[in-house]
């Protein structure tokens, strides 16, 4: 098992290095540091101001190692990213790492309930729909899923805010209060909206998985043994379906941290998601760069965790 984990981690590290290289290409070659400076200071800024800005942000070096082995942006980039030295925001010079630490809590408080509740809602619904496959319940279910999936998340959010916040006045439209008592009030609406916008796609995916597993030969064997449909669904099908479902869940873990971008921004939750949105709107390249890096890091971690969980859950996967 140990060797298996090491191999997966090794490949993951390689991928992270590759991601960093792509980020470098994106943020330093396709757009040069001078452009970033101009965006921050304005197009009309004089060359000296630009030069000062570049020096302050340590961008006043050549790009590639062959230009200057000791001081070049590529090595700087790798060194800083790998040591989590994220520097300061291009927009307001605040330390990025502080904002990340502050933003993680709120993001998690939104996404974790969303994930858990999502599972509790989607899996039973899809089991139900798959149990009644080929009947009109199934067809209705699929149609509703396609319907739900076709509505843009934007519309869900705007609609929910309008309907529940303004018309019915059940919950506050936006805002955030970290105290344990107030938290549910402010999270209720975003979690609800997140659930509704996601349930369509989830149920469709899980339904497909359940149906695929239901048509396998071992289900026919179970039927020939005299097992009832309900037992087949829960004991035989669900067990096998757990593997792809688990994959999906573990892969979603990294996104717990990133926060649901739209939900946070619309509902005023000060997490990593709204931090990213701010970065976009203020052309803050260094924050953007950091967020993509962290997102990738978490994604790779999620994939490695998925592979490892396969080894634990699926007896067919040999981890030697």
């Amino acid at each position: 098992m140990g060797a298996y984990v090491l191999r997966r981690l090794g490949y993951g590290v390689g991928v992270v290095l590759g991601v960093l290289f792509l980020l470098f290409l994106l943020f330093f070659t396709i757009t040069a540091p001078e452009d970033i400076a101009r965006k921050a200071l304005g197009d009309k800024a004089p060359p000296e101001a630009i030069q000062t800005w570049l020096e302050n942000h340590e961008y006043d070096r050549p790009l590639w190692p062959w230009q200057d082995w000791d001081e070049n942006l590529l090595f700087d980039h790798y060194r800083k990213m790998l040591t989590f030295d994220f520097g300061v925001s291009d927009a307001d010079d605040s330390p990025i790492i502080d904002r990340i630490k502050a933003g993680m809590g709120p993001s998690l408080s939104l996404t974790v309930p969303l994930l858990v509740l999502g599972l509790f809602v989607s899996i039973p619904l899809s089991l139900l729909v798959a149990f009644f496959r080929e009947t009109y319940i199934d067809r209705m279910g699929v149609f509703l899923c396609v319907l739900a999936m076709s509505v843009s998340t934007l519309l869900y959010i705007i609609g929910a805010q309008f309907l529940i916040g303004k018309v019915l006045r059940w919950y506050p439209i936006s805002g955030f209060d970290a105290s344990l008592a107030m938290l549910p009030r402010f999270l209720a609406l975003p979690v609800l909206v997140g659930l509704i916008s996601g349930v369509g796609g989830d149920v469709r995916f899980y339904r497909t998985v359940f149906l695929e597993e239901s048509s396998r030969d071992f289900v026919r064997t179970a039927r020939a043994k005299g097992a009832g449909e309900a037992r087949i669904m829960i004991f035989h099908v669900l067990r096998n379906a757990m593997i792809p479902i688990l994959t999906r869940v573990v892969l979603a873990i990294p996104f717990l941290f990133m926060g649901a971008l739209l939900l946070e921004a619309f509902f005023g939750i000060p997490g990593l998601g709204s931090m990213t949105v701010d970065a976009i709107q203020s052309n803050d390249f260094s924050t953007m760069r950091t967020m993509v890096y962290i997102g990738s890091l978490l994604f790779v971690f999620g994939q490695v965790a998925t592979d490892i969980s396969y080894g634990l859950v699926d007896p067919r996967v040999s981890v030697e």
């Binding site: 490949y11 792509l22 934007l154 976009i280 052309n283 994604f299």
Partner: protein
């Protein structure tokens, strides 16, 4: 280079696409497999296909444009600007500001409209007819979905098939590339690309393509790996058939159903992504996403200005639902594993 105006280019591209469509129709007619699939698709999703067709026609109406022929007293139009069929239909529909659907007077202030009762979906803050704006959004959406897919799918095919078929170092490289790009959260990467490349329609499409090609590439690579081991392919190689012929004659046709399925299913995802980008301020001009973004605050006014967002939202929903519906049916019909009687 005055003859290479943007609108002339757009006209030519539209013509090219139409020609491509006619060609595709002929291919489908000629091959029994595709013909039967098309008939089956029509049988299952008549309504949704018609809806998509309507959107296509509207988009077409907005894609063919020419200059001239504008009466001098037309409001809000530059005299020498190229205008499409759609533009000309709504040529003189400008008001001063907001008005409710079918209203006779302005929303704020109550001044009489130039065309009382003539705006079925009202007008926006600049007085533009909302129905007209919604129709114009169709072309943008089709452009985003279509152009991006036209970039992403061939790219994914090229890399995926070559990696799967030829293997070796190139495959290692492609696999690593895919893994790396797939590890970057696509929305963030998308935003980063647009921040870097600028916010024109073309860059948005390129950015969407760059984030979108990876999934399909993985699929084509995996399929090609499987196909390569099939007996008749091995037989062809043993007989000395050239690699290029094998790829074009045997591998690509077996991927054709995947291409169609992916194209249709990608389409709606792309349009929805663009809506999110518009909301973030980096979308394409004239898209429904932009209309929704611009109309957000209108819902909190007293009294509520709802028709802008309702129109754009419904238009968006209509197209996505129709495409998703057709896409589902396309997958059921073309995927050999799920092919069964409905």
């Amino acid at each position: 280079m005055s003859w290479l105006e943007p609108h002339i280019l757009s006209n030519l591209v539209t013509l090219g696409l139409l020609a491509g469509l006619v060609f595709a129709a002929r291919v489908v007619r000629a091959q029994r497999l595709w013909r039967e699939a098309a008939v089956e698709l029509w049988r299952r999703r008549r309504f949704a296909i018609l809806v998509v067709g309507v959107y296509l026609l509207i988009g077409l109406a907005d894609s063919v444009s020419w200059t001239g022929g504008v009466p001098d007293d037309a409001v809000g139009v530059l005299p020498n600007a190229p205008l499409s069929v759609l533009d000309r239909a709504f040529l003189d529909s400008r008001e001063a500001s907001y008005s409710a659907p079918f209203a006779a007077v302005e929303f704020y202030g109550g001044d009489a409209l130039r065309h009382p009762g003539g705006h079925p979906l009202g007008t926006d803050i600049l007085g533009r007819d909302v129905f007209y704006l919604s129709l114009k959004g169709a072309r943008v959406a089709l452009l985003i979905g279509g152009l991006t897919s036209l970039i992403a799918i061939p790219l994914a095919l090229l890399f995926g098939v070559c990696a799967g078929y030829f293997g070796g170092r190139f495959d290692d490289f492609v696999f690593f590339l895919i893994s790396t790009m797939a590890s970057m959260p696509s929305l963030l990467l998308l935003i980063a690309l647009i921040m870097v490349m600028g916010r024109s329609t073309f860059s948005v499409c390129i950015a969407l393509a760059v984030t979108g090609w990876v999934g399909f590439c993985r699929l084509t690579r995996a399929e090609t790996l499987k196909l390569r081991e099939l007996d008749y392919i091995q037989a062809a190689r043993a007989l000395g058939v050239s690699e290029a012929k094998i790829i074009f004659r045997h591998i690509l046709p077996n991927l054709a159903h995947l291409i169609v399925i992916t194209f249709v299913l990608m389409f709606s995802g792309l349009v929805l992504s663009e809506a999110v980008l518009s909301w973030l301020g980096i979308g394409v001009d004239g898209s429904w996403g932009q209309m929704i973004d611009g109309a957000r605050d209108e819902l909190s006014r007293q009294p509520v200005v709802w028709w802008n967002i309702a129109a754009a939202g419904s238009a968006l929903f209509g197209l996505i639902l129709a495409v998703n519906s057709v896409g589902d049916a396309v997958r059921d019909v073309l995927d050999p594993r799920t092919a069964r009687e409905s």
